[in-house]
């Protein structure tokens, strides 16, 4: 599980630094397939196969949705960078290390799985907070959910299949709704740039 865990973290760091939306979509999709593969190879029961299938289907549907959105909202030029890629990566790594330092061991199968879970949650939060492009903010949510999927796969004992499938369905719904908003924001402002969403402010 150790190699898988750190592969997931490396892919997530890629999402934080890359500029092109399609590459970032490819990276989170690769994460989903790595997770599904891990569930299949390390699983011991029929429930694990179902969990792996759910992760794989989730990854494929999300990839299709995001690539559809990328095609429908072609940008003449990428959304301007708010924070430089290296600064984003540094912030993400700092938050990940802080979380690892603060949270005591909580009983997943391996210590690496715990550290990778916390890292993926941190990387997802930083992606959503620091990237201005709407699609990247949704990918931040997917990174967090991929971290949580890793934790679910590394739980001691049998996973709760109903909850795992429910989480996957909920994520698909949220991504679908985010897609509706992304398209409409693009149509309204000419770019999927959250910097345009700043009219609702109180002093």
């Amino acid at each position: 599980m150790s190699g898988i865990a750190w592969t997931l973290v490396a892919l997530a760091i890629g999402v934080i630094v890359v500029r092109r939306r399609s590459i970032a979509v490819a990276l989170v999709t690769a994460q989903a397939f790595v997770l599904a593969g891990a569930a299949l190879t390390e699983g011991t029961s029929a429930d694990d196969v179902v969990a792996a299938t759910a992760l794989g289907v989730r990854g494929v549907v999300l990839a299709a949705l995001f690539l559809f959105l990328v095609r429908r909202t072609r940008e003449t030029r990428p959304v301007p960078v708010g924070v430089a890629p290296l600064a984003r990566a540094a912030a993400a790594v700092t938050l990940a290390l802080t979380l690892i330092w603060l949270v005591p061991p909580f009983g997943l199968d391996t210590h690496e799985a715990e550290q990778a879970t916390l890292s993926l949650v941190a990387l997802g939060l930083v992606t959503a907070a620091m990237r201005r492009a709407t699609l990247f903010q949704v990918l931040g949510i997917v990174l967090v959910e991929n971290g949580l999927a890793l934790a679910a796969l590394s739980l001691p004992g049998e996973p709760s299949l109903a909850i795992e499938i429910g989480v996957a369905v909920d994520l698909l719904l949220v991504a679908l709704v985010a897609g509706v908003f992304h398209e409409r924001i693009f149509a309204e402002f000419g770019a999927g740039d959250t910097a345009a969403l700043r009219s609702l402010r109180d002093s």
Partner: protein
């Protein structure tokens, strides 16, 4: 299945039938069929709430379903606000100018999304375990975000986007807390996370504290507790008025119930002082953040949104204190807030028709220019401010007294000061809105006023009855049921 479990099933299935009906009903009959379905759903939900409250000791504690007094109160609130929102929705839809969706399909999508939101909202207080409760809460996000952005205007898109992203990230953090609890308990799947078994789980206290803080911090983003409340004023002010009422009066307390149940379930491991202290902290911070905004001249719906921040803070204080007085106050506060806040949001539809600038600015002298509307706004704001004989006055006194009762005098004292400041802010807004100097020059007929006036006539005696009930409630079996929780 027992009769109660059948009733729960009916409560959850009826709004889903509403979703199907929204898709299948001819356009000419859409509003009538949907309000009819809303009445059926509310009838079933109110029956369940009544059963849960009349026999508070007779609980259903299943793996997937719970029925208890706390859940009964929230189900009753969701039923009342849901059906009232459905009844005022046709007026809103007849006045809408644009939509996120194609004009020909917009009304149908509104109703389908409304009933989907209502269905998952009703599932939150009835969920028998933490995992299922999380799923229902997350599902409310997807449905309600579409409703927040329904008008398709730039400001609504901004509000809907913020709501979707911030609450989804928050719920991701909450799910991390849930997974930590399950892992620390040694796995065991869903059985570990049921409300009846979680209090007895063998957990490392250090892990349990971290998991609890993550869980509450994540849920706080959905409840709108400061400092993770940024989406709340935007979403509540930009959503259609019937949806704003559901968000504020029903969704926030429903999610707060899950936070409270988590506190009760983890208190045996991490201690009542610590677990309650986190809630008290969120409550005080929310009050402190809300008060300055209540002192400013705000657009009507934005003022109500900041009032939601204040009232969710008050409820957090109540559940954090615990004890008979504070929990009696919480029960009264949840219901009183729902009635007054829903009326305030419904009144926004005729208010915006009467004075369009009210969408972005504070209004004045509505009691002069449109007296019936002024009365509705005055009743809502007066009750929310805690102006006697509002039940919220009694509930706030009970909650503050409850803080002293359980030995948290500093928190109770700070809450009393912040509540007094909040009262002054809202009282000023009340005077300005109802009997102040009229500001806008561009006034029109207050469309939809009849429905709001009828609701005001219904709400006033209910609020007064609640004030009377508050005097009897602390010694009741309902409050004993709230204290006992689900363990």
């Amino acid at each position: 299945m027992t009769p109660r479990e059948w009733l729960v099933t009916l409560v959850l299935v009826l709004p889903l039938i509403g979703v199907a009906a929204a898709a299948a009903t001819p356009s000419a009959l859409l509003s009538r069929v949907m309000t009819g379905m809303a009445a059926l759903t509310a009838l079933a939900a109110l029956t369940l709430a009544t059963v849960a409250l009349l026999e508070p000791t007779h609980r259903v504690l299943g793996r997937w379903i719970v029925v208890d007094p706390a859940g009964g109160i929230i189900v009753g609130v969701i039923a009342c606000v849901g059906v009232a929102s459905a009844f005022v929705s046709p007026q809103f839809l007849s006045m809408r100018r644009g939509s996120l969706f194609q004009a020909g399909r917009a009304d149908r999508i509104y109703w389908a999304t409304f009933f989907a939101f209502w269905a998952v909202l009703l599932a939150v207080p009835l969920a028998g375990n933490l995992g299922a409760a999380w799923l229902a809460i997350e599902a409310t996000t997807a449905a309600s975000a579409l409703l927040v952005g329904f008008s398709g205007r730039a400001r609504a898109l901004e509000a809907g986007w913020k709501y979707l992203i911030l609450t989804s990230l928050g719920l991701g953090v909450a799910l991390l807390g849930i997974l930590m609890l399950e892992s620390a308990a040694g796995g065991g799947g869903i059985e570990t996370l049921t409300w009846r078994t979680l209090p007895h789980a063998s957990l490392d206290p250090d892990v349990a504290v971290v998991a609890y803080v993550l869980l509450l911090a994540g849920l706080a983003a959905k409840i709108g507790w400061a400092p993770v409340h940024n989406w709340l004023p935007d979403a509540h002010s930009e959503a259609p008025a019937p949806v704003s009422a559901l968000l504020s009066a029903a969704l926030l307390p429903a999610v707060l119930l899950v936070a409270w149940r988590s506190q009760q379930a983890l208190a045996p491991t991490i201690g009542v002082r610590t677990s309650g202290g986190v809630l008290v902290g969120f409550g005080l911070v929310s009050l402190a953040v809300a008060v300055p905004f209540l002192w400013q001249s705000q657009a009507w719906k934005r003022l109500l949104a900041y009032s939601s921040l204040e009232h969710m803070g008050v409820i957090a204080l109540g559940v954090g204190f615990g004890g008979t007085l504070a929990l009696a106050g919480v029960a009264i506060h949840v219901v009183g807030h729902a009635l007054a806040k829903a009326l305030g949001f419904y009144a926004a539809t005729p208010l915006l028709a009467h004075e369009p600038r009210a969408s972005g600015h504070g209004v004045g002298g509505i009691g002069t220019t449109q007296p019936a509307l002024g009365v509705s706004l005055g009743v809502s704001l007066g009750a929310l401010a805690g102006l006697p004989p509002s039940p919220l006055f009694v509930s706030e006194v009970l909650i503050v007294a409850g803080g002293f009762q359980v030995g948290r005098p500093w928190a109770a004292g700070a809450a009393a000061i912040l509540l007094a400041l909040g009262f002054l802010g809202l009282a000023h807004a009340l005077i300005d809105t109802v009997i102040g100097k009229p500001r806008g020059r561009d006034r029109h007929p207050a469309l939809g006023l009849r429905a709001v006036t009828t609701m005001t006539i219904v709400v006033v005696p209910l609020l007064l009855a609640l004030t009377v009930a508050a005097l009897w409630l602390p010694d009741s079996a309902i409050v004993q049921g709230l204290i006992r929780g689900l363990g």
